[in-house]
């Protein structure tokens, strides 16, 4: 599969009074054409910042991409000019955020907000843009499209708004859609509708998708390929079936075991002891070592590298490196 997005050694740091925070720490992965890649991890693991870095949204005095390459269609998004980046964003890459209510302008009608990118990026005139808007609203599964186009965000429910966000995001036929926790704020029955919509659109338009979520259930349903992040680093990545059936990293295993699953009756849930480390206090070690069941002496002092470990799976753990066992 040809890769559409290739990220090499991406590092995004934030400078705070207490010291630098490595929100994304030397992360590399690729997304193939038409592929859905899910990034999973708990809050603070850097999954959203990875997405923001790709979109060039980490800016300002404190946050900066300090290292790496983001190759989209062979072009490094970190090297190109502002104007070119603006053309790519919205046209070729678009993003959906968790909170649809806060990403829409409350005083502009839904219709106008969908028309805006069409007129800006696709250079459609008003009439064409409106016609396309109606099509898009219908495409994301909302009936009474014309009525919806003339209503304001507060008149719609959360699930409808999220579908409007999807409509805006796909309006220019992007090659890559980034969805950052798109269903986290929604109820399960509505989540099922939105995921169904995303899946249908993906199938029709063959676009690639980068889906960020903390819900392993959503991952299992949507992903082709999964990336597991912990404390700013990728700890494991692999195809969805291999990763769920043969998780290698102790963190991935713990995560899968600690989620209650319908129909699977257990006396007690497995729980990973302790909590995510403070990003300011990270030292050269495996960041998971103090919560890990199978911690080795080397885990305290050296950081494992992400290495191939059969079936296209990659894992960053000393347990899978022979030299480590004898240290």
């Amino acid at each position: 599969m040809k890769s559409l997005l290739k990220i090499n050694n991406l590092s995004t740091h934030f400078h705070t009074e207490a010291g630098p925070i490595k929100a994304v720490n030397d992360v590399s992965f690729r997304i193939g054409e038409g592929e859905t890649v899910c990034i999973v991890g708990e809050s603070g693991c850097g999954k959203s910042i990875t997405a923001m870095s790709v979109m060039g949204l980490v800016e300002g005095p404190n946050g900066r991409v300090v290292n790496g390459q983001i190759l989209f269609d062979g072009k490094d998004l970190l090297q190109i000019g502002k104007e070119e980046l603006r053309r790519i964003r919205g046209n070729d890459i678009s993003i959906i955020f968790q909170e649809p209510m806060s990403s829409l302008n409350p005083v502009i009608t839904i219709g106008k907000q969908i028309m805006e990118p069409l007129m800006l990026h696709q250079r459609l005139n008003k009439k064409q843009a409106y016609a396309r808007t109606i099509e898009l609203i219908e495409l994301v599964g909302i009936p009474r499209a014309e009525q919806i186009a003339s209503s304001y965000p507060h008149e719609l429910s959360g699930g409808m708004l999220q579908r409007i966000m999807i409509a805006i995001a796909i309006s220019c036929g992007p090659k890559l859609l980034i969805a950052d926790e798109p269903t986290t704020a929604l109820d399960v029955t509505i989540q099922a509708q939105v995921l169904e919509t995303l899946r249908q659109i993906k199938e029709q338009s063959k676009m690639s998708m980068m889906l960020i979520t903390h819900d392993l259930g959503v991952v299992a349903e949507m992903a082709d390929y999964v990336i597991v992040m912990y404390a700013g680093k990728i700890v494991e990545q692999g195809g969805v079936v291999e990763l769920f059936e043969h998780p290698k990293h102790p963190y991935t295993r713990g995560l899968l075991k600690s989620k209650p699953v319908i129909g699977q009756r257990l006396e007690q849930l497995y729980s990973i002891p302790g909590q995510v480390p403070n990003p300011l206090e990270l030292v050269e070690s495996c960041y998971f070592h103090d919560r890990c069941e199978s911690c080795l002496p080397v885990c305290h002092t050296r950081q494992p590298q992400l290495k191939k470990s059969g079936d296209g799976q990659q894992v960053a753990c000393w347990l899978y490196e022979e030299e480590a066992q004898y240290e």
Partner: protein, 321 residues
Amino acid sequence: MSEALLEVRHLKKYFPITAGLLNRTVGHVKAVDNISLTIRPGETFGLVGESGSGKSTVGRTILRLHDKTDGEVRFKGISVHDLSKTEMNKLRPQMQLIFQDPYSSLNPRIRIGDAIGEALLDHGLAAKEDIPGYVMEVMESCGLSAYHYNRFPHEFSGGQRQRIGIARALALRPEFIIADEPVSALDVSIQAQIINLFQKLQHTKGLTYLFISHDLSVVEHLCNRIGVMYLGSMMETAPRDELFLRPLHPYTKALLSAIPVPIPKLKRERIVLKGDIPSPANPPSGCKFHTRCPYAVAQCKEETPEFRQAGNDHYVACHLV
């Protein structure tokens, strides 16, 4: 079956909608509309439903944090809403509430030891000098350390704050705890820790829980009996195994099939419900679910289905069952 600890009969809670200069009541949001449930000592009753289904309002009305509109709540045979203020205050330590977001329910300027001990002092349940020792004991049973006593809420992570919320409820030695979405704001690995803590405390202290959640997988793990709410009404209540293996109400079936399962090879036949939850201010006539129900017939639009028995301890409100 043992005697009920909590009995709720035909509970209703309507919130008035006011409008205009004179604040006249123009309608009601029927947040809780004729709900009945029974909770037996030592069991965990799970209340599930989507946002706006009224599950939190049920919890709060049981504790009399809201006054009821109609119906009855009996705790150990005592009608909670008929007590005087002083009698109610005496009863409060026995029924406690744990919230979803423990951060907003903790005063940022009060040390957590004091926050946990405060209610004991208020209710006159312990002498001032005994409080620190007792509080530390409670903190340890909730997985906090004694040295946390003098810290402030902002120094804790989300999971730890939830432990503080639990410790605060437990300090009063309650028999009955209502937990309102206690693990929804937590990450998976921390969620498992808190769920295990709930189970451990139930074993050691003989607690009875009303566990309110939108997450059916958590509810399945933790609860003995489950009630499913939709738009202020109870759709179905059943023991856990009955509900998950033999769901009767179309809404319960749809809810169960909507949950993403972390098994990638599993391809399920999914019931995707059309449309959104109607507004509780203007609920549909007849069966409230008829607007989204794939099996609705003419009768559903007109008649409200009765909540009736459909098996051993299994109750359902649907014309088609």
